[in-house]
């Protein structure tokens, strides 16, 4: 297997005729806490992989975060245009003359392969982690040298939005097939602004500017991601000028570091919302579960002052969302919509009074250190619940598979609002019939009949005004049942050298192309 990787390296090395020319451009070094062990952009779907992927690969469609931090506008990228041929068929027309890092020109075969059943959505696909983005795919076909068609089993008005997700990255079919899945992940090749020259999952990534990049000259001569597990060491490297960007500044150190000369700390809200799910089920492990009572659930939601807790922990870096009402949804977002169960200690007491709760201990499973500040907030909440007479005990678990082991009453989780153009993903995919909330071994609820009916209506309604109303009806049902509680919009923090003009927008995805470096005027 290692031989294949050697072959992969040799193929890539041989493809470079000229060394990078731009001597006056900087060598950017990004110090990261971790990297995903494979750089296949679908097998490596993760925050730690997303730091690298967009610098090596391009997606068919892109979001414009260099001008709008929430990136609500779609930008044609490797796909020049797209149109709906029928309710279930979309056609994408590709950009002509885009070279991969070995000079091979991208065509419809590459795109059809990248989106194929074989790779993403068939039986036992090569990269099984992309299935959530390929829901309903029935056909992907190259219909011309630069056109492909994607057919789905149900009408999807928002299909182009899926092409900004990791499945939209275009891989070179010839190279992938030559080296195989695993070797590709160790020495990937794309059409992106930087060409990878080395990758060691426990050391880092090195890449050089791809001088033939189709979209514009890369602003750096080289780009490295160095794994530096300890934050203080990353920070020392930044202060000493060794690193240009440092990721994952611990939330409690942001203020202290912001005053360091030559260093700017950025806090960015991202499309992920930490929350907890109420376990509403009575199972063998939990025969008498008081949380089957909606009044207790509502008492708990009304009983915690999330605004105060969030402000105390995060300052103004983030906010408490109204369920499924997120700014990244453009026209679906309503800044004035309020929560059905707001903070109200008196209402909480009344809900509790109406419930059958008799002081039983409720266990909250929390994955240690996974969501920044989660444990601190949880302790505040436990105290507020204790004031009401609700007895919650936090149990920290070292990983999710341990957290999923029953019995538990509350389970930590987060909802991604990742781009589908509307609240379809967090609301229906993450709570509906396909969701792990409902299907997995660690399921926490059974959908109500109303939820199913409203959800199907939402799924089938395509016209905007009607779809928005269907979405609001579905949210109202969700809030009526109260199967969980949102805490805040997740935040990522970067510390960067003042010498670097770079802003990733509201995203954990880091891109160092001419649009994101230098204020977008490159």
């Amino acid at each position: 297997m290692s031989l294949r990787i050697l072959t992969a390296s040799a193929l890539l090395a041989g493809s470079v005729a000229l060394p990078a020319l731009a001597q006056d451009k900087p060598d950017l070094v990004i110090a990261v806490d971790n990297l995903w062990p494979t750089m296949d952009p679908v097998i490596g779907i993760s925050t730690t992989g997303a730091r690298v992927h967009s610098n090596i690969f391009d997606t068919l469609v892109r979001r414009n975060r260099w001008e709008d931090p929430d990136g609500t506008e779609l930008v044609p990228w490797l796909a020049e245009s797209w149109k709906q041929l029928s309710p279930t068929v979309w056609e994408f027309t590709l950009r002509d003359g885009v070279p991969f890092h070995d000079g091979h020109i991208m065509d419809a075969e590459d795109v059809a392969f990248s989106l194929s059943a074989e790779r993403l959505w068939g039986e036992e696909p090569l990269a099984p982690r992309g299935t959530r983005y390929t829901r309903g795919f029935t056909r992907v076909e190259a219909t011309g040298p630069l056109t492909i068609e994607v057919e789905t089993s149900f009408p999807d008005p928002n299909l182009p939005f899926r092409m900004v997700t990791p499945i939209g990255f275009v891989l070179p079919k010839h190279y992938y097939e030559e080296v195989g899945t695993e070797a590709f992940g160790q020495m990937p090749m794309g059409t992106g602004p930087y060409r990878m020259t080395s990758f060691d999952p426990s050391v880092g990534v090195e890449a050089v500017a791809f001088e033939d990049y189709w979209a514009g000259e890369p602003p750096a001569a080289s780009l490295s991601f160095e794994i530096v597990p300890e934050f203080s060491t990353r920070f020392a490297g930044l202060v000493a000028g060794e690193y240009d960007v440092v990721v994952s500044v611990p939330a409690d150190q942001v203020d202290a570091l912001d005053g360091t000369p030559g260093v700017t700390v950025m806090e960015k809200g991202i499309e992920n919302y930490p929350m907890f799910a109420f376990n509403m089920l009575e199972t063998e492990a939990l025969p008498d579960n008081p949380l089957t009572d909606v009044n207790l659930r509502k008492a708990m939601v009304a009983g915690v002052d999330r605004e105060a807790i969030t402000a105390a922990i995060w300052g103004d870096a983030t906010f408490v969302p109204t369920p499924f009402n997120f700014p990244e949804y453009g026209p679906y977002y309503d800044a004035d919509r309020e929560r059905a169960v707001p903070y109200d200690p008196e209402a909480a007491a009344a809900y509790l009074e109406a419930s059958d709760y008799a002081g039983e201990e409720l266990i909250w499973h929390i994955t240690r250190g996974f969501y920044p500040n989660y444990e601190i907030a949880a302790e505040f909440m436990v105290e507020q619940w204790a004031d009401l007479g609700i007895n919650v005990k936090i149990e920290l678990k070292d990983n999710f598979s341990l957290a999923y082991q029953r019995p538990f009453h509350l389970l930590n989780m987060s909802m991604s609002s990742e781009f589908s153009g509307d609240p379809y993903r967090p609301l229906w995919m993450d709570w509906g019939p396909q969701s792990s909330r409902f299907r997995a071994a660690h399921k926490t609820w059974d959908m109500t009949e109303d939820f199913v009916a409203l959800g199907e209506k939402f799924e089938q309604t395509l016209e905007f005004e009607a779809r928005k109303q269907a979405y609001l009806d579905l949210v109202a049902e969700w809030e009526d049942v109260t199967p969980g509680m949102y805490m805040w919009r997740n935040v990522v923090s970067y510390a960067i050298s003042d010498d670097l003009d770079w802003d990733p927008g509201n995203s954990a995805v880091t891109i160092f192309d001419h649009l994101y470096v230098g204020g977008g005027d490159g």
């Binding site: 062990p37 099984p128 060691d200 969701s435």
Partner: protein
Amino acid sequence: MIGYILSRLIRAVATLLITVTLVFLFIRFSGDPAAALVPPDAPQEVIDQYARAMGLDQPIWVQYTGYVGGLLQGDFGFSIHTGLAVEEVFLARLPHTLELGLTALAMAIAIGIPVGAIAAIRRGSALDRFVMAFSVFAFAMPNFLFGLLMILIAALVFGTFLGGDSASVLWPALTLGLAAMGSFARFTRSSVLETINAPYMRAAEARGVPFRLRLIRHAAPNAAIPLVTLIGLSLGALVAGSVVTEQVFAWPGVGQLLVRSVATRDLAQVQFLVLVVAFTMVLANLLVDFLYLLIDPRIRAS
């Protein structure tokens, strides 16, 4: 003597077997390795596909016999993340770890032993007290704290960076070797003190052997016995690298690989690393045991 060697060998093999088994079980029962490969909200089908690919759908005893059978044939398995043979990944890291560990050990020996000897010879002097204070500090100082302090002071005060790719091995080696330096100094001091007052030293003095010669010919070999044990154990720990020091300095060695492999539940990689560490520890212990045969006539006689 053959009995002595045999019993040591049997003990070594048993230790290895127990280690292999415990690691095999612990890593499987401390969280689902297939679930570690996917996001927390991944569908069950995806987790199941990974589990099948990794053979985790097999009964545990089938997995275990397969694993031990593989070991006996020299097949240590592949990393579930990269598909690389685990021993290759290890060998790529090993030079870094040996560079760091050997430098640290050399520093600890070169500084700790002479300083301890001098303290013993100048017993009760200010120098002795200073050396003992230093050795307590060196031994008690947690190395992550010492390393971080060095890194931060160097960056904030001197504007230089002691960690990462391009940094010198001296700083992480000093951090890693500090505790050993302290304990070497203490052991040397007490060991030399013991021998200095031994009857054979007085006898040598009475014979008119000069002081320096008494130290080198008579005191040193006797004082060396406990130090051999100490150095042997440090040597065994070398291959494991230093998890903490490597993390703090972003030193790309075996320790960092181990932390990462455990965090990502990379079964074969963790099993191999623990096996190698156990093997070197056992080997170092065996060497020390056999070295005793050479330097301690009492064991030979028994």
